[in-house]
């Protein structure tokens, strides 16, 4: 049974409140996980587990958070910036995220800004949403 985008967002909100200890009003669609909500490496693991439970699906971590694979592959990163190959990989792994702003200066330190609450909702829509 397909789940509406609103319902997906609500459940994601609950997951992030539990995982990150933030208030629910801090969790907006544009909020970035690391920069706004204070998530760091260990939290990504926790978030994936909680989302799997909340939605009853399996979520391969690198599907939801492709950053780790991107950042650690020398073909995709050079001198602290994503290469053309890296950008291509990013587009493939996050098809519903607009990366035009990031592309202008693909500084790996700013990669975290792409991981927003919205990106999680977009991903889950492809898995459980009404298409």
């Amino acid at each position: 049974m397909a789940i509406s985008r609103d319902e997906i967002f609500q459940r994601v909100q609950e997951v992030l409140v539990d995982a990150l200890g933030v208030d629910d009003d801090q969790i907006t669609i544009e909020a970035t996980l690391m920069g706004d909500l204070g998530a760091e490496s260990i939290d990504f693991l926790d978030i994936v587990f909680r989302l799997e439970k909340a939605f009853g699906i399996k979520i391969p971590r690198e599907e939801l958070f492709p950053a780790e694979n991107l950042m650690t592959n020398p073909q995709f990163v050079n001198n602290g910036k994503l290469t053309e190959a890296g950008l291509k990989e990013l587009r493939t792994k996050m098809p519903h995220t607009d990366i035009t702003k990031f592309e202008k200066n693909p500084d790996i330190n700013k990669l975290g800004d792409l991981f927003t609450v919205g990106a999680i909702v977009n991903y889950l829509q492809t898995k459980v949403g009404s298409s």
Partner: protein
């Protein structure tokens, strides 16, 4: 030396009651106290700041940390892209705040623990070869509790920021037999302070 409940649980407002059990924490604190007395660097002891560069007693502290490729935890975080884990950036802020308390209260308490960490944000990564400067300002420092805002900056880039609450006490407050343990911990803290601020 930072002790206390795991940072993640203290951030979570719905943290379970289990870890607040006094007896449990007595045992944990006793273990860490023993390590502190032994001054044993091989046991679990973190030092996430290298030097204090500015001190306004009771008000503000600035401390720096250089990130070295030799830090063992970097090997896994991440193998081809080493960066200081977020929890250690937070630990740097906590240690800076703790030293501000110790100096202000003239090392009155052996135990200074994180009570809560709020609005923590990780803005940028910190890689080996960088130096981060933690700037922590006290909002209040009372006898047993204190609160701070702080941030870490490196090369003009904001790395981490947030708000912290600490609590401070002596083990002897609960158990007078621990007074000598308190004294030894305080001695060690005074020695460490001489290495950080001179």
């Amino acid at each position: 030396m930072q002790l206390g409940p795991p940072v993640r649980n203290t951030r979570n407002k719905k943290a379970k009651k289990g870890w607040k059990n006094d007896r449990f924490w007595y045992i944990v604190l006793r273990y860490f106290a023993d390590c502190a007395i032994a001054g044993d660097r091989k046991s679990m002891r973190f030092i996430l700041i290298d030097k204090v560069v500015l001190l306004e007693s009771g008000k503000q502290i600035k401390a720096v940390k250089g990130v070295s490729l030799a830090e063992e935890y970097l090997a896994d975080h991440f193998p081809t892209f080493p960066v200081l884990p977020g929890v250690f950036l937070l630990e740097g802020l906590i240690e800076s705040a703790s030293w501000l308390v110790r100096e202000a209260e003239n090392f009155a308490h052996s135990m200074i623990l994180l009570e809560d960490a709020r609005n923590i944000k990780y803005k940028s990564f910190l890689a080996p070869g960088s130096q981060i400067e933690y700037v922590v300002q006290a909002k209040t420092i009372e006898e047993n509790v204190s609160s701070f805002t702080g941030f870490g900056i490196s090369g003009g880039e904001q790395i981490v920021e947030g708000r912290l609450g600490l609590r401070h006490f002596n083990l002897a407050d609960e158990n007078p037999a621990m007074a000598t343990v308190d004294a030894q911990i305080i001695e060690n803290m005074k020695k460490q302070w001489k290495l950080l601020w001179h």
